[in-house]
């Protein structure tokens, strides 16, 4: 097998949230469809939550990518922890107002009242669990004005705390839960990733036993799977380039899968 094929296979599993890397699975397609439908509804806030590595950021990114030409939509992949910076950025993006100096919540609300848009802008906030409680509270109050619609992603653990808060429960919102892949979904995901990168030979290398082992190690988590398979092909490349061993490239070695799991920390050895 040529090293270029292994290189391409490895790069196919780079952990990115690029829309081009999005793999369509039945369940994720349904979730994406329901997310799109929710945006059309007069909801103040939509909650997208699940464990890390279940594809929240990817789904948010895809939503932005698909809707950016149709409506006013903004994505904040990295949390803006400074309140002034956050509202300044919102004012700039939504109302095209470049504000000099500090811009607090009250000042921003005045801007919102003055600038009444026909179209409700959608703000996509990734990793919202990193925002402080007071900042989250202000985001909720802002969503109450119905002048801005928020779609936020949260880790499942922090979401439970947020729901517990009374003021949050009173808001009209919808939550979409993302979970890890099942074994069959994981198989499709891996195969589709490789086939998308035109790596047919490496796709044929992976058998059901390999999938079972990968699933056992990653529990169907997409991020862990990406990391694991990236390292697997990296190890194969190392052996191939250094001619250290006569490695079989007809099937994926469980030893190399386990070595990769040790390297990525999935196995504590």
């Amino acid at each position: 097998m040529q090293s270029s094929i292994l290189e391409d296979s490895k790069n196919a599993f780079l952990d990115t949230t690029e829309v081009s890397d999005y793999i369509q699975l039945d369940r994720t397609s349904n979730l994406y469809f329901s997310l799109k439908e929710s945006i059309k509804k007069p909801l103040k806030m939509i909650l997208l939550y699940g464990k890390p590595g279940t594809g929240k950021s990817m789904l948010l990114n895809k939503l932005y990518h698909d809707l950016k030409d149709e409506q006013k939509i903004f994505i904040y992949k990295v949390p803006i922890l400074d309140e002034n910076d956050f509202f300044r950025l919102l004012a700039q993006d939504i109302f095209n107002i470049k504000y000099q100096g500090d811009l607090n919540y009250t000042q921003f609300m005045k801007i919102v009242e003055i600038n009444d848009n026909d179209e409700v802008p959608i703000i996509l906030l990734d990793e919202a669990q990193l925002y402080s409680n007071t900042q989250m509270e202000k985001i909720r109050l802002l969503s109450d004005t119905r002048k801005v619609k928020f779609v936020i992603t949260l880790h499942k653990t922090t979401k439970e705390d947020l729901i517990a808060k009374e003021h949050f429960q009173t808001r009209i919102w919808e939550s979409i839960v993302l979970s890890n892949a099942t074994k069959s979904e994981l198989k499709i995901y891996i195969q589709k990733k490789l086939l998308k990168a035109n790596c047919f030979d490496t796709a044929n290398m992976i058998n059901d036993k390999n999938i079972s082992l990968i699933y056992k190690l990653t529990d169907g988590n997409y991020r862990d799977t990406n990391k694991l398979i990236y390292t697997i092909f990296d190890i194969y490349l190392y052996y191939l380039k250094n001619n250290l061993k006569t490695i079989q490239t007809t099937s994926l070695s469980n030893k190399i899968i386990e070595m990769s799991a040790i390297h990525t920390g999935l196995i504590d050895a």
């Binding site: 190890i235 190392y238 250290l244």
Partner: protein, 212 residues
């Protein structure tokens, strides 16, 4: 950057670590099985000792009686030996009178059995193995040659007095030789010290008249 050599070493350690529980389970199973085996064999030895001890006690407690038994047993046995030839010839004469076909089959059977006994007798004289003498006693008993059955059961008892079958053949032969009282007395003593179920059954059968 991947350090594959280090990864291989870590993988090997991990594999060994994952196999340790299986190895531990395997060896612990072996240990458990051997311990159970040893325990079982020891318990068997203990039960055998329990049976043997009373017999030894019997020998110590009633040495006089035993001597008298031995004396009474030995004396008639010599006479029986002298009479063996006569009895054998009588039997052959009787069988000569029978139809030819029946006679031939019986003769073949007897010859075979006698051959067996002769072979075992030779072996017994060479090594004095009580199991061989017991075999001879049983064969003679089957052939209704009670004098010889009695003799070889006695010899077996002399060599090893812990063999239950030799006691039973000895007692049964005594009864067949019309020494019922002596046989019952010996059997009772044997039951008292061995608590043998077979012996009790035999005693019961003697009293009931099922064994004559």
């Amino acid at each position: 950057m991947l350090d594959v050599h280090n990864l291989e070493e870590r993988w090997l350690k991990y594999k060994i670590k994952t196999f340790i529980p299986y190895i531990v389970i395997f060896f612990s199973l072996i240990i458990i099985i051997t311990v159970l085996f040893i325990f079982n064999s020891k318990s068997k030895i203990n039960t055998e000792k329990k049976i043997v001890k009373p017999i030894k006690k019997l020998e110590k407690q009633v040495p006089k009686e035993k001597i008298t038994i031995e004396k009474t047993i030995l004396q008639p046995s010599y006479k029986f030996i002298e009479n063996i030839k006569e009895i054998n010839t009588q039997k052959i004469i009787k069988k000569d009178k029978q139809p030819k076909k029946v006679q031939s089959t019986i003769q073949i059977k007897r010859q075979n059995q006698n051959d067996d006994i002769n072979i075992v007798l030779k072996r017994f004289h060479n090594n004095k193995n009580p199991s061989l003498s017991l075999f001879i006693a049983k064969k003679y008993y089957e052939q209704k040659n009670y004098k010889y059955a009695y003799k070889y059961a006695f010899i077996t008892n002399e060599l090893n007095n812990k063999i239950e079958d030799s006691w039973l053949i000895f007692i049964k032969s005594m009864i067949k030789l019309n020494k019922k009282e002596q046989a019952i007395k010996t059997l009772k003593q044997y039951i008292q010290h061995s608590d043998s179920y077979k012996a009790k059954l035999l005693l019961n059968n003697i009293y009931n008249g099922k064994f004559r």
